[in-house]
Amino acid sequence: MTNNSSRREFVKRSAALVAGAIVLPQIIPSTALGKGGKLPPSDRVVFGLIGAGSQGMSDLRDFYRLDNQVQFVALCDVDASRLSAAKEAVDTANKSKGCRTYGDFRELLEKEKLDAMLIAIPDHWHGIIYSSVVNKKINVYGEKPICRTIKDGQTIVNAVKKNGIVWQTGSWQRSQPHFHRACELVRNGRVGKIKSIEVGLPDGGRGIGTPPVQDVPEGLNWDMWLGPALKVPFRGVSHWDWRWILDYSGGQLTDWSGHHIDIANWGADLEHTGPSEISGAGVYPPEGIYDAPFEYDFLCKYANGIEMRVANASRFPLGMGATWYGDLGWIHVDRGNIISASDPKLLEGEIGENGIHLYQSDNHYQNFIDCLRSGKPTIAPVEVAYRAISVGLLGEIAMTTGQTIKWDPVKEEIIGNPRASRLLSRPYRQPWTLPTA
């Protein structure tokens, strides 16, 4: 079937739908139809979902809240019970029973033709699944942090560039007016020349010790959940709480790098570069299967002289969020509409016509859809997301090695430290490999 014939068929089916006839609930993605892949304004975006957990379903609901602009047709999860719950929710939203389900993303990619994929899976899977989807030229809304290792991140960024797809990272703070406002004020010199930045991310919670090995819950494909990570017996930790185990995530630090480091970078115009020197220390749990640092504190020095300190929020007087310190004062921003400054006057007034106006989005999900239609970059493109998480990952390497890491942000490599360089990637368990673009 050529693209043209499928287009005709799609038009026919659409006509039938308008005429009120009963049709098979088959949806044909618009971007798959023509070259260039721009989505006509009238068509709904045909979506797939990989990862039907709490974040994935929350994102999915947000897409459905956009007035009739999306339709999810294929869902994938390694947990059958989550998958069936997701199907039920999506079928209800679609008013149809036709949404297809998969336990293996490879099968989904083999069989489905999609405009876009929503992906919300544990970090250790990001390198493989993001790259595989992008290599199929499917546009992606992908959850942060976009990678578990620097190498995973580089692979994903290259795949996105090579395939020319539209990418939106789930760093939704960028689409909140007060974060945008804070960054724009800082970019326009309200704090003067930036000298330092503080980024407060959440403190670690409590450990759970080492729960006993237990039966894998019915329907959970544990081997597939682990995927490229080392094989371990099931101890009751999978969904959500994977975040506190270094095989899958870097803890609160990497979870939140995609939010507040991302915002700090946006305000300081560091979105397309990285630090040149990183040093710091973490506090690691004394026992149990959670091994991510419960506290962390590291300093990043940039070539332009800016110093960014990233630490768990309790270590900063202003707590969570990003604070830019310049020679004229400071501005702090955090969730909950919090924006404050050393002098309230710094926050007043409009940015003039000749000032710097940052990309504006007031709905993170709509922004993705709009960009699918316009072909323009999203508010949270892949390269920028990679630069945000790479700060967290380099901090992790500095804390692991106990050394000051020298990083070349242009070549994106660690300088003169093979031991630290080994930590830029994690070997994958057979048979998994990182796909190349």
């Binding site: 959440p202 403190d203 670690g204 919670g205 409590r206 450990g207 759970i208 010790g209 080492t210 080392l230 094989k231 959500w240 709480d241 220390a281 506090v283 690691y284 749990p285 004394p286 026992e287 149990g288 299967i289 959670y290 091994d291 419960f294 506290e295 768990n312 309790s314 270590r315 007087p317 692991t400 090695t401 106990g402 050394q403 093979p418 031991r419 630290a420 360089s421 080994r422 930590l423 990637s425 994690r426 070997p427 368990r429 057979q430």
Partner: protein, 448 residues
């Protein structure tokens, strides 16, 4: 026989000579104890051990007469010392001793006020200016204000009526750093779980020239740790809250099962109470820790690394105004309390000797110790190789556990050299370790 005595005398003389010579960075400490509503026979030798093992102190214990005894015989020569540690809660000393002690502090002597020492001498005004805050002994609004934290603000002017000093049931609780820049606190985590202890609250006193270094929330039963946004964490918090509510209901007057005829504890507002403080008095520096309730053998409050380390650092600061001790690898985080069964930090050799018996359900303290030393010698190839050789030795040891080898392979994967490769290759065909050995080999060879 005579010769032997002569020899001993000589040795004693030499020792006296050396202890009389004050070395820079070495301090003499005097621990005062002998009367206490707490087990001072358990606590005071431990305090001595903690001071002496820093290598910074030579400490003596002086025991006062028993209750009702002749206090005139208690006449310490304060001038010999740089630091006085107060583990005493008892009858008044003589006026002469009081004066000598005050003179010692005013002239720049250091003091550590330990746990119930702040209960002592409610009537002695100058003593209370040294401790800053105190409790019990009929202390009330006349003793001074309550001092505590409200959010991020310190409250110093709460002169409301009420008792001075109380504590709830003993429990683990979270200690929060309030001044991370103070030499005593520098490099410590922002929050750490303290071993089961009494959480002193509602202390009151003159609180002059007093700074709060750390607080704990008196409303908590070990639960004021920042909430983890996880279903498991939320469930645990909810369950504990329910248990607490149930406890409260049980003890409510008239509730079934409520204890009969037990006077109700004074109501205890949930607030961030001072746990660690510094005070200055004249030229003297005082470190006040309310932590460390002693059971026989010390108990979890004294075995807690948080207590031990803040006590040691506080003592050095009080004696010298600076802290040269490093933060040890086993300092706790909010993840959970860490206890040292014998009060000592484990050495790398001890960690390496014990790491081979690790299984996943055990403490990772030996591994954490190893990691700490790997980080500490980072950049020193020879030192790293020495550690690596010992790690490989465990990998090759047939008696070492699979779990211990898994942990070592993770570390070697990034810090190892060619030296490790044959031993790791060997394990790529060992059941249970194939994946980890493959992982280590791949990573090790990814950059040289």
């Amino acid at each position: 026989m005579k010769k032997k005595y002569l020899f001993l005398l000589l040795v004693a003389g030499v020792l006296t000579f050396f202890s009389a010579c004050k070395k820079e960075g070495h301090y003499n400490a005097l621990i005062i104890t002998g009367q206490n509503n707490h087990n001072w026979k358990a606590s005071s030798p431990i305090l001595k051990q903690l001071l002496d093992q820093t290598g910074l102190f030579t400490s003596d214990i002086i025991i006062t007469p028993e209750k009702g005894g002749d206090m005139k015989t208690f006449n310490p020569n304060f001038s010999k010392y740089d630091l006085v540690v107060l583990d005493y809660n008892g009858e008044p000393w003589t006026a002469k001793t009081d004066t000598a002690f005050l003179k010692f502090v005013r002239n720049g002597g250091g003091v550590v006020v330990y746990h119930a020492a702040d209960n002592s001498f409610p009537e002695w005004k100058e003593y209370n200016r040294i401790t800053g805050l105190g409790g019990w002994g009929n202390r009330n609004e006349k003793s001074g204000p309550y001092v505590y934290y409200k959010g991020d603000e310190i409250v110093r002017d709460d002169t409301s009526k009420g008792i001075g000093g109380t504590h709830g049931a003993r429990n683990e609780f979270l200690v929060k750093t309030r001044n991370s820049q103070h030499p005593i606190m520098k490099g410590l985590p922002a929050n750490w779980m303290h071993g089961t202890d009494e959480l002193y609250s509602l202390l009151r006193g003159p609180a002059e020239n007093m700074e709060i270094l750390a607080t704990a929330n008196s409303g908590n039963r070990g639960l004021n740790r920042p909430a983890v946004p996880t279903p498991a964490g939320a469930a645990a918090v909810a369950a504990a809250a329910a248990a607490q509510a149930a406890r409260a209901a049980r003890t409510a007057p008239g509730a079934p099962g409520a204890p009969v005829a037990v006077p109700a504890r004074p109501s205890q507002p949930a607030r961030d109470e001072p746990m660690l403080m510094t005070i200055t008095y004249g030229k003297g520096r005082i470190f006040h820790t309310v932590l460390g309730h002693a059971d026989e053998g010390g108990g979890p409050a004294m075995k807690c690394v948080g207590f031990i380390v803040t006590f040691q650092r506080g003592a050095e600061w009080a004696a010298s105004g600076k802290v040269t001790q490093e933060v040890p690898f086993d300092f706790p985080s909010a993840a959970g309390a860490v206890l040292r069964p014998d009060f000592k930090e484990i050495t790398l050799d001890e960690a390496l000797a014990n790491i081979g018996s690790y299984d996943i359900a055990k403490s990772t303290k030996n591994l954490n110790c190893l990691r700490y030393h790997i980080r500490k010698v980072a950049g020193d190839e020879q030192a790293l190789l020495n550690i690596e050789k010992k790690m490989v030795y465990i990998l090759q040891n047939k008696d070492a556990t699979v779990d211990s080898k898994k942990l070592l392979l993770r570390e070697l994967s990034w810090m190892g050299t060619d030296y490790s490769i044959p031993a790791i290759k060997e394990l790529t065909s060992t059941e249970g370790l194939k994946d980890e050995a493959g992982f280590a080999l791949t990573r090790l060879q990814s950059a040289k």
